[in-house]
Symmetry: C2
């Protein structure tokens, strides 16, 4: 018999059933005992009169601790005077399946006590019991599912690229080293080269959702040493605009799906609505965006070829106010700010690249890739990279390589802005940072 | 304009269109040139007469190399005398988007030349161009999608557990060590402890599909140092049979979905049919299975508490012949063969555990987990483990832990037997073994 979810209890009124859950609250009064039970779907009140007949059960409840788990037999009744869902469960048997210690290390309802963030992360298994946190991971699940739905419906192949690499990916900076049977190997910083290998393999369109690793000694709210990267790559394109078309269509599908499946809880718990974006996100050339920021906001970032955090926020503010969009593509970055494999536009000499910003933060980097080996080599040399260490990668381009492009999307950054929480720690199952590898 | 897939060309008869693809074959005859083009969906013949008017295009084709990619404008006509799909494409413009070197390092059609396995793996991007290989990854994509469909429809939460661990998971054997800002950390061998953490967090039902890492110096056809593990864990169960119910229902859904979506290609390329299993897989107690193997096949394995490879094959042969099932659960293993966290049956003292075997090979290990901290500690001590190193894990059990169970499923082993290929190397995008971390 599969477990009856508490949200479905209405279907079982007046029947003897067996239910299981966490002990959410206990009120042990003079003549009656109330226990609120909780599972991931809902809560329900269990009520038991104190009398001789119930003595054994009364004793069990008296000794019960909050957050213990129980299995109980009994009957669920419609009971309008009960505030909690107008029903109550009257037990005839109770088994304590696990007993919680009296004192919890954190107050699991104390979500907003940010000063205790480390304590909350130490006890993440308790922190996650908060309904707000459960909803975040339900949202994550639905968002990923909507993305995959979109890809599968468009004939994409799912790949699982290796995370153990014989040579450091891309630049070699910020990469973790690993002892591999006495040899030195590396953890993947991104699936970039392997998504491109799939293009060389003729896979047409691919996606991957998996972990990537960055040895960055960074403690900001939007960096982690390990995070989930959402990647896709498509063949036979003519410009980066086709990649952006794909990303925006996918994100509209994701937001629609979230609105449909999450909206009641979302409103109740997060006190806001999910906004479905228009089909077309604004696309602002990088140099134009710099100008807007300087002219409208009198802010002059220090990086000539890229944005700093403040500029990301300002251009998003601009897009929201003037273009009514939470999402904005910044396109055509100078080559100085981009990796060697981004394709250059023949006329402007700018890269055929883009970032996607969402509510003040970069969530995607994408581009059309350079697929012509001679140009690719020249661009690598311009970035002072060694062609020897790139040889395995350049090999992918020697025997026919479709024109292609793609993007990487930071799942936690997206969720952080969707739920408008303060840190990716809040939307990561178990955050990993320079000082945190436990639990 | 999105790329026109070759499989859809029928829709464009007599229209001027633009198509892109790999050059599959070239026949440059005296009066006419034939080029077969290929994309991941199908092939099509391009035909061009040799004459003065076509001189420029004739020259391009004369210099073309196999496996190059081209972009071509022209018209596709119904042409019954053409063997390949009864159509031909007449070009008016051809652009070579990437030129393949003349000599390929492997014959990409030479799938069965097993002696060249290392060469094939070195050039996996070419090896994967074979239609058989594309179909394998299409099958993988559809199989995973069907699993997720099943879970999402049953309200599972998707988790991404960390792969970087502060302490070695489970036994500490066969684990990769990593330098982490001067500290020693480990790569996850399985998401086991973290799936259980999700149970402590009240997540009810969870799944994860992601990489795991094993520092095993093993070179067999069914081991790798990095592979994709499919994991799920469910709360509020009473026995491991509920976990098996879940796995078999999920696999029936997967096989039905594969049969529906893959069957034409599967038959054509692999010359066999996908078999949909019955709803109930046989469940044979371990000790009974040992007896069957000894009595029926006169084979006596050396391990008293587990199976060797030969025994796995024999019991599968038995299940196929006598119970008409490709899948068979072996249940109730002795504690000696199982990890400390498997729950013991109070009466038999055997573990409430199971393996799932499929066509001769183990593809799943599962169990009801011990959720009572005192019993769990005692079992860890019996296995001579240090409670200190397990402290972060035991912590999950201190404040209420639902009775729960789950399983881990080897995706590549399943695919290897589904497609009946010889090695997991054939069903892994890029195999990783003790001697192979490239490309």
């Amino acid at each position: 018999m599969a477990k009856i979810l508490f949200k479905d209890l209405e279907k079982y009124f007046d029947q003897e059933i067996e239910i299981q859950g966490f002990v959410d609250k206990i009120r042990d009064l003079q003549y009656v005992q109330f226990v609120v039970l909780r599972d991931s779907s809902a809560k329900v009140q269990m009520t038991l009169e104190k009398n001789d007949e119930n003595k054994e059960l009364n004793d069990i409840i008296s000794k019960l601790t909050k957050e213990s788990t129980i299995l109980t037999k009994g009957t669920v009744f419609k009971q309008e005077k009960v505030k909690l869902r107008g029903m109550e469960f009257i037990p005839t048997n109770i088994e304590v399946t696990s007993r919680s210690e009296e004192e919890l290390p954190i107050d699991i309802l104390d979500y907003n006590n940010k000063s205790k963030q480390d304590l909350r992360l130490d006890n993440r298994f308790l922190d996650l019991r908060l309904d707000k946190n459960y909803l975040i991971f339900k949202g994550q699940t639905l968002a990923e599912n909507a993305m995959r739905e979109y890809w599968i419906n468009n004939d994409f192949i799912e790949i699982h690229s290796p995370k153990i690499l014989g040579t450091a990916s891309e630049t070699g900076a910020e990469v973790f080293e690993l002892d591999y049977f006495g040899k030195k190997v590396y953890l993947a910083q991104s699936p970039q080269f392997y998504k491109q290998m799939a293009m060389a393999a003729g896979f047409n369109n691919v996606f991957e959702i998996g972990p990537v690793f960055r040895a960055e000694n960074s403690h900001t709210a939007y960096h982690a040493t390990e995070f989930t990267s959402v990647d896709c790559e498509i063949s036979w394109i003519k410009s980066h605009h086709e990649v952006m078309d794909l990303e925006e269509a996918k994100l509209v599908h994701v937001m629609k799906s979230l609105k449909e499946k999450l909206t009641v809880d979302f409103k109740e718990i997060f006190k806001k609505e999910i906004q479905i974006p228009s089909e077309k996100f604004p696309r602002i050339p990088f140099l134009e965006a710099k100008q807007i920021i300087q002219e409208k906001y009198k802010y002059f970032g220090e990086k000539p070829y890229d944005f700093d955090r403040k500029e990301e926020e300002l251009i998003c503010m601009y897009a929201k106010k003037n273009l009514n969009s939470d999402f904005v593509f910044i396109i055509d970055y100078p080559f100085q700010a981009r990796p060697f494999y981004h394709m250059l536009d023949e006329n402007t000499k700018l890269t055929k690249s883009f970032d996607l910003l969402y509510k003040g933060i970069e969530i995607t980097t994408g581009a059309q890739r350079e697929h012509r080996i001679d140009v690719l080599k020249a661009q690598a040399l311009e970035k002072e990279m060694s062609l020897e260490s790139l040889d395995f990668y350049l090999n992918f381009f020697r025997y026919g390589m479709p024109p292609h492009g793609g993007y990487g999307f930071g799942l936690t950054r997206f969720l952080m802005r969707l739920f408008e929480v303060d840190s990716i720690r809040d939307v990561t199952f178990l955050y990993r940072g320079p000082n945190r590898v436990m639990p």
